[in-house]
């Protein structure tokens, strides 16, 4: 059964189909929540809540939109609400953050694992200092490779606002990275083509 069929079955009340959708998109949604909230337990709760909301709002889903973008939209709005509610304490770049256990992969050697942890902590700390709206856009852009149009669709902002915010967010991140006493080493997987 493909995704369209699963969605159609889920809309007709087939819970097993929706569970399969949950299993398909759990990492996508969880990652967004984790990157936005910075805490694995809260991210789990937010991801679960996202799927519950999606389940109850499934009749409103427009099949012409990508399901992933629709889910990310729900997750993003939910995380922004959470961040606003808890009045996020901005994380200091100097703070040592414990990365999510899923990011601790057993296969790499101690040095590589240490580098990854360092990078994860740096990313978490830097993302934590961005405004919630900007943070969501950065995650959608970099982790899911969404286009500006898709991000605009998911967040309700205009395309030009998305571009502007992303540029501002990148500039802020660059400034944070430059101000770090020890920059994280360049990751091995660098696939950015610029210019």
């Amino acid at each position: 059964m493909n995704e369209t069929e699963l969605i159609a079955h889920a809309r007709a009340g087939d819970d097993a189909s929706f569970t399969r959708l949950v299993e398909t998109y759990q990492t996508v949604v969880f990652n967004l929540c984790y990157r936005m909230l910075g805490d694995p337990a809260e991210a789990e709760d937010a991801a679960q809540e996202t799927f519950l909301r999606a389940y109850s709002q499934l009749h409103r889903y427009d099949p012409n939109r990508p399901f992933k973008t629709w889910l990310l939209s729900i997750a993003s709005h939910h995380c922004i609400d959470r961040l606003r509610k808890r009045r996020l304490t901005w994380l200091s770049l100097d703070e040592s953050l414990e990365p999510h256990p899923a990011l601790h992969e057993p296969s790499p050697g101690p040095e590589e694992a240490s580098t990854r942890r360092e990078q994860s902590a740096a990313i978490a700390a830097m993302l934590g200092r961005l405004a919630p709206d900007d943070r969501g856009m950065v995650v959608m852009r970099y982790w899911y490779d969404l286009s500006y149009e898709e991000i605009a669709g998911a967040t309700g902002a205009t395309v030009s606002a998305v571009k502007s915010r992303l540029h501002r967010a990148r500039a802020n991140l660059a400034a944070m990275l430059a101000s770090r006493p020890e920059k994280p080493r360049q990751p091995a997987r660098t696939v950015v083509t610029l210019g």
Binding site: D15, E105, W143, L173, L177, P187, G195
Partner: protein
């Protein structure tokens, strides 16, 4: 760092790979001339590389099962809510109907001029019932007579019609509320 807007826009476009060859050449020349712009560009590309290489954070195993449990819990809460609402509404309506019945009967006793007759009848029936406690046939007769008397009396009373309508209303509300209770669905 302050950067002329055209170059700031150009840097943004360069990040997205949207520069034309002419713009690209112009941008590279600008980077070659401006140390600040070059530093900014290097920092941006570093951020870009760092974020692009960041792995997806995965939830703990069993996420789907935990979702199923949470969905079931939520449904249970909804059912409890509707059940409580149904029970509360039913209780209130029953109490209201009973109060109306008692009030109407009391009014009938005092206002119709037959105040003594029903009470005498009731007393007689109670006496009969007590005396004929061991006699099942007598008791059934007494009850039948009472039921007949009550039925005849009730047919002539608009209040009874009102109560019957009310009873139908309560039933309809119950049916509606019970329909609202979502059926148990197991998620495989």
């Amino acid at each position: 760092m302050t950067m002329p807007k055209p170059y700031s826009d150009m840097m943004q476009a360069a990040m997205d790979g949207e520069l034309t060859p002419g713009q690209q050449a112009q941008f590279e020349q600008y980077l070659a001339e401006s140390g600040e712009a070059r530093a900014m560009w290097n920092a941006l590309t570093e951020v870009d590389a760092l974020l692009s290489a960041a792995p997806l954070a995965k939830p703990r195993p069993g996420f789907g099962k935990r979702f199923e449990a949470r969905l079931a819990g939520q449904r249970s809460r909804v059912k409890t809510l509707w059940g409580t609402l149904a029970l509360g509404t039913g209780t209130l309506m029953s109490a209201a109907a009973l109060s109306l019945l008692v009030a109407t009967y009391a009014f009938a006793l005092t206002a119709t001029g037959h105040a003594q007759q029903p009470s005498e009848l009731l007393s007689m029936r109670v006496t009969q019932a007590a005396v004929a406690f061991a006699d099942a046939r007598a008791l059934i007769n007494a009850l039948s007579i009472s039921a007949l008397a009550l039925g005849e009396w009730g047919l002539m009373q608009p209040t009874m019609w009102l109560l019957a309508t009310l009873g139908l209303g309560i039933t309809a509300v119950w049916l509606y509320l019970i329909r609202k209770l979502s059926p148990e669905v197991t998620i495989s």
